[in-house]
Subunit: 323 residues, 2 copies
């Protein structure tokens, strides 16, 4: 049977909630429970289970892969927040704030190991392939984070460099989730590859959508303050594109380099630079192009069109979301 997106999400949320890392010493494991309980969209584990479900009905067997990928994703958030000195995650104190830096380092390490423990539960027949893709992806995500940190110190990042960074930091894990789910269900290599490429393109669109919502989202539903990226001069598609326009570059650089400023004023001014360049539309067009490219890969997957409906709708919902 084909499970709906909401069935799978409910299942994943249940599974994540029953994970309890209650070992001793408590200070090592409590942060793992804490960050996993902060919630999130659970997009990656849902994709893994839905890809598996394209081929097989016994989705229980795909749960360890899904959980491994979700634990891994939360490990990257934990260590990234430490490296970025972020105080909040989903409105709550980050682990290094609630505990301390050393706890964040070591609990993160323990989480990375836990993610491998879940992946290791994969059917031995498919384990070598799934494990290999998982590790390759994990390394890519480290590369993405390193590039992201390096880009923060530069003002000449090209759009191509930026897209490669978000491919590594965000998109590959969506691709990996889909491909691992498919492989664990015994899919063909071609299908697994198409699902991976579907994930990459949806992932790129997803991250570009994040950049867009941070400036143009609806304050009532966005959940975070609109303009957060502008205030901290975060490299986004919008900022990088604006820096490449000779007429807006200096004006934007002025705001980036200002140390004392009124926050509302900076958000308003930078947004109007983006407005003048019509970047809301440019972004939306690029997001739509990646979405279409992703769907074209999904179309290549050799299962009934009807079976792919839930994945198609999930992709669409990620890119028409308002938070």
């Amino acid at each position: 049977m084909l499970y709906t997106f909401s069935d799978v999400l409910k299942k994943i949320n249940n599974e994540v909630n029953t994970l309890k890392f209650e070992g001793k010493p408590e200070s090592l494991f409590a942060p793992i429970d804490y960050i996993l309980e902060l919630g999130g969209k659970r997009v990656r584990p849902v994709l893994a289970v839905m890809a598996y479900n394209l081929y097989k009905d016994d989705i229980e067997k795909s749960i360890p892969i899904a959980l491994g990928i979700e634990i891994f994703h939360n490990f990257t958030l934990l260590h990234d927040d430490l490296m970025d000195r972020a105080d909040k995650r989903r409105g709550k104190p980050t682990v290094h704030i609630k505990w301390d830096d050393n706890t964040a380092v070591l609990s993160g390490d323990a989480m990375l190991i836990e993610s491998y423990k879940e992946i290791a539960k994969t059917d031995p027949q498919y384990l070598p392939e799934v494990l290999s893709l998982f590790s390759t992806t994990a390394t890519e995500i480290c590369c993405g984070q390193q590039l992201d940190m390096e880009f923060e110190k530069r003002l000449d990042v090209s759009i191509a460099e930026y897209l490669e960074m978000i491919r590594l930091k965000t998109a590959v894990l969506l691709g990996c989730a889909l491909k691992c789910g498919a492989l664990a269900a015994g899919s063909s290599q071609e299908d697994a590859e198409s699902l991976y490429d579907f994930g990459i393109n949806i992932g790129l669109a997803f991250q570009l959508m994040d950049d867009l919502l941070d400036v143009y989202g609806d304050p009532a539903t966005f959940g975070k303050r609109i303009g957060g990226d502008i205030l901290c001069n975060k490299k986004t598609f919008l900022q990088i594109t604006a820096l490449q326009h000779e007429d807006s570059k200096d004006q934007l650089l002025d705001w980036i380099n200002k140390i004392d400023f009124d926050e509302t004023e900076k958000i308003k001014a930078v947004t109007s630079i983006y407005d003048e360049l019509n970047l809301k539309q440019t972004s939306a067009d690029i997001i739509h192009a990646y979405y279409e490219k992703g769907i074209a890969y999904l179309d290549l997957v050799s299962v009934d069109y009807a079976k792919k409906k839930e994945l198609r709708e999930l992709a669409k919902s990620l890119l028409t979301r308002d938070s």
Copy 2:
């Protein structure tokens, strides 16, 4: 054929030296090459290969496990040095000093992933078991480091707690190396378990020997300054034992709590507290007891006595070393 300890060590050093993590971004991978090039005794990978060689001659096949364990060990050093704010490792600047804290976090993460990539090369037939032991051990080592950090803030650590901490932080990886090597060669469960217990006991003896050498080692051959542990009030078997003697406790606490002191004087004074309690002999006796217990487990391993000669001598050399 039975490879000698020095054959295996040469082989391992060659293999470690040909590992090159030269990916992009360079700042992510260069620290991995750096820490692996700092050297070390390579005890753990040698144990893995020697355990394999008890059963099979084609030791090439055990190299990935050996490398995975050595990379993992160096990952723990990298992150531990960061958490302990250690400036030097084998006489060279630590990664967070040579680069920065974020590089140490992220390169360490990448190294942990690399260690899994090596372990993943295990013969698929033995992979689930080897992978499971590797992950269990990795978690135990995180627990050991967390306990170690917690103990630094306490003055009432019992000897039993200390021994459990060093079991987790040091001994289990020696046991894991031996057991993984044996399992990958198709050994019986009983033999794999005996080799694990041999490793645990030799590992405990090895760490207690470290504590002992730091105070009573020969300055000419020790490599580090004698008394380093005393200067930084490190929890060691010697300190914990002395703190349990009512007549030496207050005197030792005075030195531990002193902020301004002459280094040579502190080392001399604390060493003479240990001398009065005859702790050099007590330590040596306990080390010898663990060594004997380890050898008893090695004797249980059902291969020819002659085949176990090299492992026996390696164990002996670790506990009669002077550096």
